[in-house]
Symmetry: C2
Subunit: 217 residues, 2 copies
């Protein structure tokens, strides 16, 4: 499934670049052709048009998309897109930008699964920089190091029934947490991995990649 | 040392609330008294005035502050504050908001230690929500659970010379990483903790608090 991104300003650009780096398929909609030229040069599918027009969303494949991100620089436009998108594809994951708490509530009421307020997010991030400067750099990906990487990995069938200790022994990676039923629990050595679990693993890049490689076993 | 926050909009409010919850001393400056009324009701020191006026920064104690956060909704104003703050207190940590990459470069040139662009941050966060939804919720503090907490802790004198394994045995917490010389390394069991290290620990809340309590030993 692909992702439809509505709005190619700074937020949309950052979303597209990160998804592109992870090899996700993206279609980005913006009414300003000059904003899309660079995206197109990066090999991203682009569509010139107004995302508040349902026909444009349909042409972007919203009806069969896995997710839609509405990050236009206008709360009314984002709200309109969220409502249209929900009508076209009730099962799709919808993430919207909102510029204040009142807009955020409206986005959620209109069917957004998640809402990001750039200002509140920035304030929280600045506080984290002051209260836990190393942790915040590390976890935000500002520090990249061969010697430390942290990643979320869905537990592959091959690992169901193994313990956290088994996984560490096989790969050298540290299981920080096991995510089960919407909640994280600490990765105790004896914890048995179940179908549907995800693990948060830390380690050198090669170790973390070894865990990812086990998906293929 | 206290923190001076310039600008009490949504960003400033989020910064102040988080620092307040961590019992940090904050002085917030804004030229709009009505914006400061609520901050004052929360017991935050407030100062009505224009933060681009050096006398106002002085009255907020910028010369002896530990850090200053400039999150006014104007790049020129933030730049002006960063330059003034640097002049008043060269050793202070300065964090500024910038609305695009060009403004961010100027803030750094003027002496900001760190710069936050709300739009780029939001785009990166939305991508993280899609690529690693559980990890991003967990690490951003959206999930709070008695069974899982992650925290950054400076290694207290009492623990210098202990190993990562010792710390785990004493407290039950998992040492995810040791931060040394500006770089993280994975928390291998045999790693000996040194003065100036910080550790990133995960565990149940009580376990993480046990590590924090060892500062007092
Ligand atoms: Ca959904
Ligand atoms: Ca400094």
């Amino acid at each position: 499934g692909h992702t439809v991104v509505c709005g190619y300003g700074q937020v949309g650009e950052a979303v597209c670049m990160a998804l592109r780096a992870a090899r996700r398929e993206v279609v980005v909609i913006d009414h300003r052709p000059e904003h899309l030229a660079w995206a197109e040069a990066q090999g991203i599918h682009t569509l010139v048009g107004d995302a508040t027009d349902e026909d444009v969303l349909r042409r972007a494949g919203a009806e069969r998309a896995e997710s839609l991100v509405s990050v236009i620089n206008s709360d009314p436009s984002n709200l309109y897109v969220v409502l249209s998108a929900r009508g076209l594809n009730p099962g799709m994951r919808v993430i919207a930008r909102a510029s204040d708490e009142s807009a955020a509530r409206k986005m959620r009421r209109a069917g957004a699964d998640e809402v990001v307020n750039p200002y509140q997010l920035s304030g929280n991030r600045i506080a984290a920089m002051m209260l836990a400067p190393r942790l915040s750099r590390l976890l935000s990906g500002d520090v990249t190091s061969e010697h430390f990487a942290v990643r979320e990995i869905g537990v592959p069938d091959a690992l169901v029934g193994c313990t956290v200790a088994d996984l560490g022994r096989e790969t050298g990676a540290l299981v920080v947490a096991v995510w089960r039923g919407g909640q994280p629990v600490v990765g105790r050595p004896g914890e048995v991995l179940q179908a549907g679990d995800a693990v948060l693993v830390a380690g050198a890049v090669a170790e973390v990649e070894a865990v990812e490689g086990m998906r293929l076993v």
